[in-house]
């Protein structure tokens, strides 16, 4: 009897050891894959940061990312640009678009998401499906009529076409994300507050907004980066160089001459990416979750 028992324990010990070994090997495999893919993916960007300090000739010969000596002339040259404005102007312009846009986006999207997640009203189902539908609509189809509309309003060559639509919750991806998030929040607190005599706006401000904070951070981060990246909008609506945001100014720096001055173009590209990278790392935990749970776009 005891012999049988001990043989079984030995067997299961063996089994356990084998499983452990297999798991270690599997974890090793996973790390190897992740590191290999990670390096392939990120090396170009790391290399470019290094390249921005290199001289023009070194750029085109070295695989290593570490420059032989740090040279900041490319940065100075790129920042000055070949136009009469420096990149300080272009960055300021970008922020003049981004900040108002983020504010109106957050306000309008939270209001609309609140309505969808918590209220009953006529046509709710229809409106909701229209919202989901517009997420799948290729927006290029709307560009021409929107252009004509904004021309009619006298908005061409101003930032209004880039900001005003967002005040009407037209970035439906965000509404959808907020609705999904709100649906996952139990209503107990709201019910309690309601009994205490809170009205709908007080509820929104004192209960909903604090709970929605992680989702709102996601909205802010995405809107920041997407607006920073936006190229076609400014390209269509802005014509005065003085009003150009960073994306257009970068395009200009590469198109101005046939002989591209790579060192300075790269240096300024690195600078152009810095705000987005900073925002990304500051808020990454919150907003990757947000992106995953409602998940779209990119």
């Amino acid at each position: 009897m005891s012999a049988v028992l001990s043989r079984e324990t030995v067997a299961s010990n063996d089994e356990a050891a084998r499983t452990l070994r297999r798991e270690r090997a599997s974890a090793g495999m996973r790390y190897a894959i992740l590191i290999a893919v990670g390096i392939t993916m990120l090396y170009p960007m790391i290399w470019l940061v290094g390249a921005s300090f290199k001289s023009n000739s070194e750029i085109f010969s070295e695989v290593g990312f570490w420059p032989s000596h740090f040279d900041l002339t490319a940065y100075a040259k790129g920042w000055k640009t070949s136009t009469e404005y420096t990149f300080a102007t272009y960055f300021l312009n970008s922020f003049l678009i981004i900040i108002p846009r983020i504010i109106v986006t957050v306000i309008s999207c939270v209001l609309v998401a609140y309505a969808f997640a918590r209220f009953e009203f006529t046509g709710k189902k229809l409106l909701f499906s229209i919202m989901v539908g517009t997420m799948m609509l290729p927006h290029i189809i709307l560009r021409i009529p929107q252009y004509l509309m904004f021309k009619e309003f006298g908005w061409l060559d101003t930032y209004a076409p880039l900001i005003v639509p967002s005040a009407f919750a037209t970035d439906t991806f965000f509404v959808f994300m907020l609705v999904q998030f709100l649906r996952g929040i139990p209503r107990d607190m709201e019910e309690a507050a309601q009994i205490d005599g809170c009205n709908a706006l007080q509820l929104l401000w004192h209960i909903i907004v604090p709970l929605l904070k992680p989702a709102i951070i996601s909205v802010v981060v995405f809107q920041f980066i997407w607006t920073m990246n936006d190229f076609m909008g400014p390209l269509i609506y802005l014509s005065t160089v003085e009003k150009y945001p960073v994306s257009l100014a970068l395009k200009m720096s590469i198109g101005a001459t046939e002989e591209v001055e790579w060192a300075s173009v790269i240096a300024i590209s690195v600078v152009a990416l810095l705000p987005s990278i900073a925002v990304f790392f500051a808020a990454q935990r919150h907003f990757i979750e947000g992106a995953a749970s409602s998940g779209i776009k990119g």
Binding site: S26, A27, R30, V37, M41, P44, W47, L48, F60, E62, V63, S108, L111, V112, A115, R118, F119, E120, F121, T122, L127, M136, L137, P138, I140, I141, L142, I144, P145, Q146, Y147, L148, M149, P165, A167, F168, A169, T170, Q194, N199, A200, M228, N229, F231, M232, L235, V246, S247, I266, S269, V270, A272, I277, F280, I288, A291, A292, G295, K297, G298
Partner: protein
């Protein structure tokens, strides 16, 4: 209070106005414009089907359509395959998973920017990083941007590189697959491969479906990459429909023709989505819905 229809409607009002003014109205107007000839200076003229008839004969449109379909057919599966594979590798109790997740996600956040397009153009230039690395392995430099057959790959790679957004969605789905299923399969002697294709994949088909649709819609609209990196060339080898629409509309101000082109793209996206939705009943499984119908 939540039953109060007026309050609810008040809150949703901005969206109603926004959709009507900035989406629905332009949508209808674009359809109307596609039957007209309009150059902004003189008033639009109704020309019936002329724009569409012209399309059929337009060799540049044929080229652009073919290039777009090729781009979508290459990019979407590659992106999804990479995203799912890496998500699968990440879905394990690993230390530093958050670091890897962020690292893989970063390119899809920055990838749409002009700065990255500039960098890409540089990396793939004749003496760029890619060719330097290939040279170390003794491979002849490839004219990534100037060779008709390679330039498409430059754009496809730029887009595949941005698989992170689909990956985080896959990862969230994978983490919801109950662990007990794998334990049961393990006992039954199923290999890791079998577990992946028999348990993981079927259980996340709704997410695969979702990603497939969104990535397809997204791929059709790709603009910054081909516009900045290859400028649609060489010989229109990367002249995606979005570029053609942009040129016709905002460079030559053929707004009627541009609208017709964008409606062709819209029709393509809608029909592809419709096919996916129709086929989904054969391959997408929603958990909770047991196969009782058969």
């Amino acid at each position: 209070m939540y039953e109060n229809k007026r309050i609810g409607f008040l809150f949703v009002l901005p969206f109603v106005l926004g959709v009507l003014g900035f989406k629905l109205f332009p949508f209808v107007m674009s359809f109307a414009l596609s039957f007209s000839q309009y150059d902004i200076i003189s008033p639009p003229q109704f020309v019936g089907m002329e724009n569409y008839q012209e399309l059929v004969k337009d060799p540049l449109f044929h080229k652009s359509l073919g290039v777009t379909l090729a781009f979508v057919a290459l990019t979407v599966p590659m992106r999804l395959a990479f995203a799912l594979f890496i998500a699968h590798v990440l879905n394990f109790k690993l230390r530093g998973i958050n670091f890897f997740r962020s690292a893989f996600y970063l390119p899809s956040i920055l990838g749409g920017s002009i700065a990255v397009s500039v960098l890409w153009r540089f990396i793939f230039s004749q003496h760029g990083l890619v060719n330097i690395v290939l040279g170390k392995f003794g491979i002849e430099p490839v004219l990534w941007l100037a060779d008709e057959s390679w330039s498409m790959w430059t754009i496809v790679l730029l887009n595949t590189w941005q698989f992170g957004s689909a990956m985080v969605i896959f990862l969230a789905a994978l983490q919801n697959v109950p662990q007990s299923l794998y334990e049961a399969a393990e006992i039954d002697g199923a290999s890791k491969m079998q577990q992946f294709f028999r348990i993981t994949v079927p259980l996340i088909t709704p997410v695969i479906f979702f990603n497939l649709i969104m990535q397809t819609v997204h791929a059709f609209q790709e603009f910054n990459g081909p516009y900045m990196v290859t400028e649609g060339g060489p010989l229109h080898a990367t002249y995606l429909l979005s570029l053609y629409i942009y040129d016709q509309s905002f460079k030559f101000f053929n707004l009627g023709y541009g609208s017709a082109l964008s409606w062709v793209m819209f029709a393509l996206v809608v029909s592809l989505s419709a096919i996916s939705f129709w086929s989904s009943k054969y391959w997408v499984f929603y958990s909770g819905e047991k196969e009782q119908k058969r």
